[in-house]
């Protein structure tokens, strides 16, 4: 156990760090070659075994009793290793970002070479990518007033504003989607329309004013509250029960290698 604890702790010596990185790269290369050499059915067994081990670790960490007090309160024997396992996942994700960038380059370079009608969008992609990449690199390696200003313009001024613009478009999409959904075509659509009207009226001061002389249970804000906290919550919880059981079943099938069809065979 002591050896494992030391293995997962941060390394501060530069020589040791270089050795660790070289060792990890060598181990990855060997693992990659071994996985390529073994036949596909056997490779699937290896993947199932690794999946089982990963699932077993997290299941045991979740179910094992934890210390109630002391320096290791709310921890069990496996809890300290969850950070290390999380870091391994992060490292794998880091590798795939390169794959994503290569894919983007392949798609857009192809369009530029073919000079298709969408080539200008691909050109815009390359210009944006290069601008963001170079400014960000400059700002993080040699920060100064100019790099800070450029980074601010590109990230906060442009990217964040474009994100906010897309988000604000949702309001208009909700309006057009609601118009279609609320058209009185059937009994269900009528119930939906009336319910939505009550909820919206209960949300605004005019609605509250219209029914303020009614007995409390008939006031629109109280009806709205009942719809949202009683009727709606009951349905959402029923769906959530089904979803959680479904997620448990799917997790079990993947963990124990029982999943079938498509890429699981």
């Amino acid at each position: 156990m002591g050896l494992w604890s030391g293995f997962f702790h941060p390394v501060h010596s530069k020589t040791l760090l270089a050795l660790y990185i070289a060792g990890v790269l060598f181990a990855c290369l060997v693992l990659f070659l071994v996985l390529q050499l073994i036949p596909v059915p056997a490779r699937r067994h290896v993947i199932r075994f690794v999946t089982f081990l990963g699932g077993l670790f997290y299941a045991l960490e979740f179910f094992l009793p934890v210390a109630k007090s002391g320096p290791h309160a709310d921890q069990n024997v496996l809890t300290p290793y969850t950070t290390a396992f999380g870091n391994i996942s992060q490292a794998i994700v880091g590798f795939t970002i390169g794959l994503g960038v290569i894919n983007l380059f392949q798609v857009h370079l192809g369009r530029l070479v073919k000079r298709s009608s969408d080539a200008m969008f691909s050109l815009a992609f390359f210009l944006s990518f290069l601008a963001m990449f170079l400014v960000s690199l400059w700002h993080h390696s040699h920060p100064n007033a100019l790099s800070r200003a450029l980074n601010h313009i590109l990230f906060d001024g442009l990217l964040q504003s474009l994100d906010a613009t897309m988000f604000s478009l949702i309001a208009f999409y909700i309006a057009s989607a609601a118009y279609r959904a609320f058209r009185v075509r059937s009994l269900e659509a009528t119930i939906l329309l009336v319910t939505a009207l009550v909820v919206m009226l209960g949300q605004i001061p005019v609605g509250t004013y219209l029914t303020h002389t009614f007995p409390a249970p008939l006031r629109v804000e109280n009806i709205r509250n009942w719809i949202l906290t009683q009727a709606n919550v009951a349905v959402i919880r029923a769906i959530a029960f089904g979803l959680d059981i479904g997620a448990l079943a799917m997790s079990l099938r993947i963990w124990l290698g029982l999943e079938r069809g498509n890429y699981f065979d």
Binding site: I92, V93, M166, A177, G246, A247, L256, N262, Y263
Partner: protein, 257 residues
């Protein structure tokens, strides 16, 4: 870190045992599963795209490699398989880079197993952006430029769901969606032709493949839901007749680990 309390240590293994027992029983005999319209409509949507000579679009959501996205990948693989038989391409934009090699491998396997590896184009699986609204804008742009005839949205979705499903609706694409994100279900219902709701999403691979193991799992899920309904009924009775026992039940269910 979150850890199990006494109730979780009892109920999760119990529910797991029920599901595994149902899978074991399902291997011995054939089981019936009711019709799920959203999944049955997949072939109709692929057929329509084929007739119109336009591509299809499959979005596996914003999630990384987790059980929701794995299920979405399984459904999109089925869509690609049907599309491959009719030579109709499936465009798959992804928002998570970890999904890119998985999706490409899966689709390649589908085309190889259908005997048409030459139809597989790796560029049909595209990483667009890992930023939510940049991804939404890019998917909406893809729908408009490619004039996709059928759109499939399966996986984890958030506020961006309405943006591209509404764009798909506006160009007249036939749209099928399924998500465990309960807040997005109403938006999909307003914009899509078919929506699979709740645990139907996890039943999809069983429904599409008809594998006994998966069908058994669905039966196990239904038995677990019956158990939970029984628990809710017991809770109602106890809360109404013997409220004195409520604190005891609450401390058992919500107590520390």
């Amino acid at each position: 870190m979150l850890h199990a309390n006494s109730a979780v240590r009892i109920f999760v293994p119990l529910l797991s045992f029920i599901i595994l027992a149902a899978i074991y029983v399902a291997r011995q005999r054939s089981l019936f599963i009711r019709r799920i319209y959203g999944l049955t409509a997949i072939e109709e949507a692929v057929g329509r795209a084929t007739e119109m000579g336009r591509p299809m679009l499959g979005v596996p959501g914003l999630g990384g490699i987790d059980i929701v996205t794995l299920q979405a990948v399984a459904i999109l693989a089925y869509v690609a398989r049907i599309g491959c038989r009719y030579r109709t391409p499936l465009l798959v934009p992804v928002a998570d880079t970890t999904l890119l090699p998985l999706m490409q491998e899966t689709l390649q396997d589908v085309y190889v197993s259908e005997g048409k590896p030459e139809l597989f184009d790796p560029e049909n699986v595209r990483f667009l952006s890992n930023r939510q609204f940049s991804f939404a804008a890019a998917v909406a742009g893809t729908i408009l430029r490619e004039r996709t005839a059928a759109c499939f949205y399966f996986g984890l979705f958030y506020a961006e769901a309405l943006i591209f499903s509404e764009v798909g609706q506006q160009i007249g694409a036939i749209q099928i969606a399924g998500t465990p994100s309960t807040l997005q279900i109403p938006f999909f219902i307003a914009t899509c032709d078919y929506v699979i709701i709740g645990d139907e999403f996890y039943a999809a691979s069983a429904y599409l493949t008809r594998e006994p193991v998966l069908l058994g799992s669905i039966i196990g899920q239904d038995l677990c839901k019956l158990l939970l309904i029984l628990g809710v009924l017991v809770g109602i009775v106890v809360a109404s007749i013997w409220p004195i026992y409520l604190p005891l039940i609450k401390s058992f269910l919500l107590g520390a680990g």
